[in-house]
């Protein structure tokens, strides 16, 4: 565990986890409801038992009152002594008008009617009783009581049962909460550890999965996929910046050489001029590379899409073919164009022209003289299809995707001039236009196929 997370004098981490807090909250609610339930059971037990006692006492009193009515004080005393015998019997008191006890084991009480808590003596043992005092005519007092220890015992049993129950709940709840939190913490720690490792530079780390397909696994999977994607992007950025550094170093060092030459070796003004011209050419090439990079970045950002207009693709393909034909011819190439008329797309005219120019220049630059370059525009399945193909050496299948990357160049074209950015811009422009860019084998040679959606009102061309 990373030491940064050890905070002294604070509650242990596991108790501060979200899952533990959740468990504790549930536990609290559960305990509170258990206490309420316990209280209710206790109160019901108490009420029921007390009511039973009262009923018993009242019915006994009723008998006594009847005895007194029929047999007078004598009969009452006789009955009371009879009733008071035996285990589980009620306790009695018959008190003379003078305040002396005539029968029973309840001590002498006053003359006030009502319930009293008393201590009776049963076979020499004191016991708590609840008694009702009844004043009969002529100052005779009768009291009937019952042992309250049974009620107390029942109540105590209920309380005990609940105490055990709640304690067990608390114990299990806290224990379970800690256990669950620990499990959770373990997995969150696994995610943290992975993240820490990645922060420290080990980009290959991935969050371990438990393979049970739960929500945390799900999260971990998503995070892992995110990491894979980021890693890929990072790699391409790293590769691009490595390439930039590499590809800029060469012209920069050549620039340095030209300037050094001008400083030390130039013997005449003409020498100076030549060295400076070379230096200027290098600077221009460098600026061209930067412009291309910035342009690609800007095209990739996609803001240009807002300015899309209807573009006469037939016209611009024809213009590009016508512009390049003489130069191609002079360099010993044949540039042949076959353009279907009236094909219009929705896009950025300037960028589409540049895309075509880059494709044609790419074909001219990376094939030997004598190569035939064909520029075709047609319609297929409701889409405009631009094909730029040559019958040159072609590009190995494995490298076809790679040549679209920034600065990527085939080994044999390392020495030919060019920034290695032309096709990257083509790819970016195609992407901007929602076009598909496909590199295929022209048997022999390379065939580049760009397929773009036609404008909605396909076929008609804007006025030139």
């Amino acid at each position: 565990m990373p030491c940064a997370l050890q905070v002294p004098l604070r509650t242990p981490r596991v108790l501060r986890t979200a899952s533990f807090r959740l468990a504790a909250l549930y536990l609290l609610l559960f305990t509170a409801s258990a206490v309420v339930l316990g209280g209710a059971v206790f109160w019901m037990t108490h009420a029921t038992l007390t009511q039973q006692l009262e009923t018993r006492v009242q019915s006994a009193l009723h008998h006594f009152t009847e005895d007194f009515d029929t047999g007078g004080l004598q009969g009452l005393v006789a009955h009371a002594e009879e009733y008071g015998r035996g285990p589980g019997a009620l306790d009695y008191l018959v008190q003379s008008p003078q305040g002396t006890r005539l029968a029973g084991d309840i001590p002498v009480v006053g003359f006030r009617r009502g319930w009293l808590g008393l201590t009776a003596v049963d076979q020499g043992e004191p016991k708590p009783v609840m008694a009702y005092v009844e004043a009969l005519p002529d100052g005779v007092v009768v009291a009937v009581g019952d042992d309250v220890r049974r009620i107390r015992q029942a109540e105590a049993a209920v309380l005990r049962a609940f105490a055990w129950g709640v304690s067990a709940t608390l114990l299990l709840g806290v224990g379970g909460g800690i256990w669950l939190s620990q499990l959770f913490l373990y997995r969150v720690d696994a995610i943290s550890r992975t993240a820490e490792a990645i922060i420290d530079g080990d980009l290959t780390q991935r969050i371990p999965l438990r393979g049970i397909g739960d929500d945390l696994d799900h999260l971990a999977e998503t995070l892992n996929r995110m990491l894979d994607r980021m890693n890929k992007l990072l790699e391409s950025v790293r590769e691009a910046s490595n390439n930039i550094a590499h590809d800029l170093r060469t012209p920069l060092s050549r620039l340095g050489q030209h300037l050094e030459e001008a400083r030390t070796q130039a013997r005449s003004a003409a020498d100076h001029q030549r060295a400076l011209d070379s230096a200027k050419a290098e600077v221009e090439a460098l600026l061209g590379t930067f412009a291309a990079l910035l342009r690609i970045a800007e095209v990739e950002a996609g803001a240009q899409r807002a300015a899309f207009r209807r573009v006469d693709l037939s016209a611009i393909v024809a213009t590009v073919a016508e512009a390049f034909a003489p130069s191609a011819e002079e360099a010993g190439y044949a540039l042949i164009a076959k353009v279907a008329p009236g094909i219009a797309v929705h896009g950025d005219r300037e960028l589409l022209i540049q895309m075509l120019v880059n494709l044609v220049e790419n074909a001219l630059r990376h094939t030997p003289p004598g190569t035939q370059v064909r520029l075709l525009l047609g319609k297929q399945a409701g889409r405009a299809v631009v094909v730029v193909e040559d019958n040159g050496p072609g590009v190995p299948e494995a490298e076809r995707e790679l040549i679209l990357r920034r600065f990527y160049r085939l080994d044999h074209s390392r020495t030919t001039p060019g920034s290695g950015l032309g096709l990257s811009l083509v790819a970016a422009v195609a992407e901007l236009h929602g076009a598909t860019l496909r590199l295929a084998d022209a048997h022999p040679g390379l065939r580049v196929i760009v397929t773009v959606n036609l404008t909605r009102a396909a076929g008609e061309v804007e006025g030139t």
Binding site: L287, G288, F290, A291, A292, L293, L294, R295, E298, V299, A303, Q304, A307, A315, T319, E322, A323, F324, P326, S327, A328, E330, D348, R349, E350, L351, I353, Q354, V357, E361, L364, R365, P417, G418, T464
Partner: protein, 265 residues
């Protein structure tokens, strides 16, 4: 006789100085490098100094201000032949400045300067009312050629039917080119090239100006398409003899110069 395809002749929708029919002075070759009064609105001191120094060496007059508010005020006063306006300015942003000037009916030609590699910047600049557009960093020769072209923009009303340079004549109505009375057959694109050179006769036009005006290419192809087309045009113009008309200006571009009195260094 060569028949020009109507679609490819002329400049169509291409917005550039070349679309505008030129005044009588363009073909005459009398006035060459007149003094141009330039207001430069640019906050980068180094660029401003570099441009001002260069333009003054060419005999032009340059005023400079480094913020949009001041620039708007001074440009509104008039009296300038060309405004050079940077896109990124403190005070008032370059495009808004141009828009405000145009709203205030100030028609002085504007050359907009912008940072490297901007896609769509040119279109936005022209939409705002700019006349030409140059991305930084630029070669001074490029800037100079464009300023000269802008400063000599003739009034819009003048309709030109004939362009001349020495013994070369171009009939814009009949779409024919003759040299010393003999007709020369040109491809449509060569015609456009020649027309642009004739409209800017006695002035340097750069490769990029030609790429923009003739092909509508607003970027720099690696292939030497301008050179090839120029050399073909030269060959055709030379068929009937006579001195070379299209001159290569080292480090800058080309200039169509009628042989004779005007020998510009």
């Amino acid at each position: 006789m060569f028949a020009y395809a109507s679609g490819s002749w002329g400049f169509g929708s291409v917005k550039s100085p070349a679309c505008v029919p030129s005044g009588s002075g363009a073909g005459g070759g009398a006035a060459t490098e007149d003094q141009v009064k330039v207001l430069m609105i640019e906050d980068d001191r180094e660029t401003a100094d570099y441009v001002s120094r260069g333009l003054r060496e060419q005999g032009h007059v340059v005023d400079h201000t480094d913020n949009g508010r001041d620039g708007l005020f001074r440009a509104g006063d008039g009296g300038y032949d060309v405004l050079i306006v940077d896109r990124m300015l403190p005070g008032i942003e370059g495009l808004s400045l141009v828009r405000m000037l145009r709203d205030a009916n100030v028609r002085t030609p504007v050359l907009l300067l912008t940072a490297l590699g901007g896609v769509g910047d040119r279109v936005r600049g022209l939409d705002a009312g700019g006349d030409d557009y140059l991305a930084k960093p630029f070669a001074f020769a490029e800037l100079l050629a464009r300023i000269n072209a802008l400063a000599r923009r003739p009034p819009l009303v003048d309709v030109e039917t004939m362009l001349r340079a020495g013994d070369l004549e171009m009939d814009l109505l009949k779409r024919t080119v003759t040299r010393a009375g003999k007709e020369i057959e040109l491809q449509p694109r060569e015609c456009q090239l020649l027309e642009y050179l004739l409209r800017n006769a006695e002035r340097v036009v750069t490769r990029t100006m030609l790429l923009e005006a003739v092909w509508d290419f607003h970027f720099d192809p690696k292939t030497n398409i301008v050179e090839t087309h120029i050399s073909r045009l030269r060959a055709k113009l030379a068929q009937s003899g006579g001195p070379e008309l299209i001159h290569t200006v080292r480090g800058a571009g080309y200039a169509l110069r009628a042989a004779g009195p005007v020998a510009n260094a």
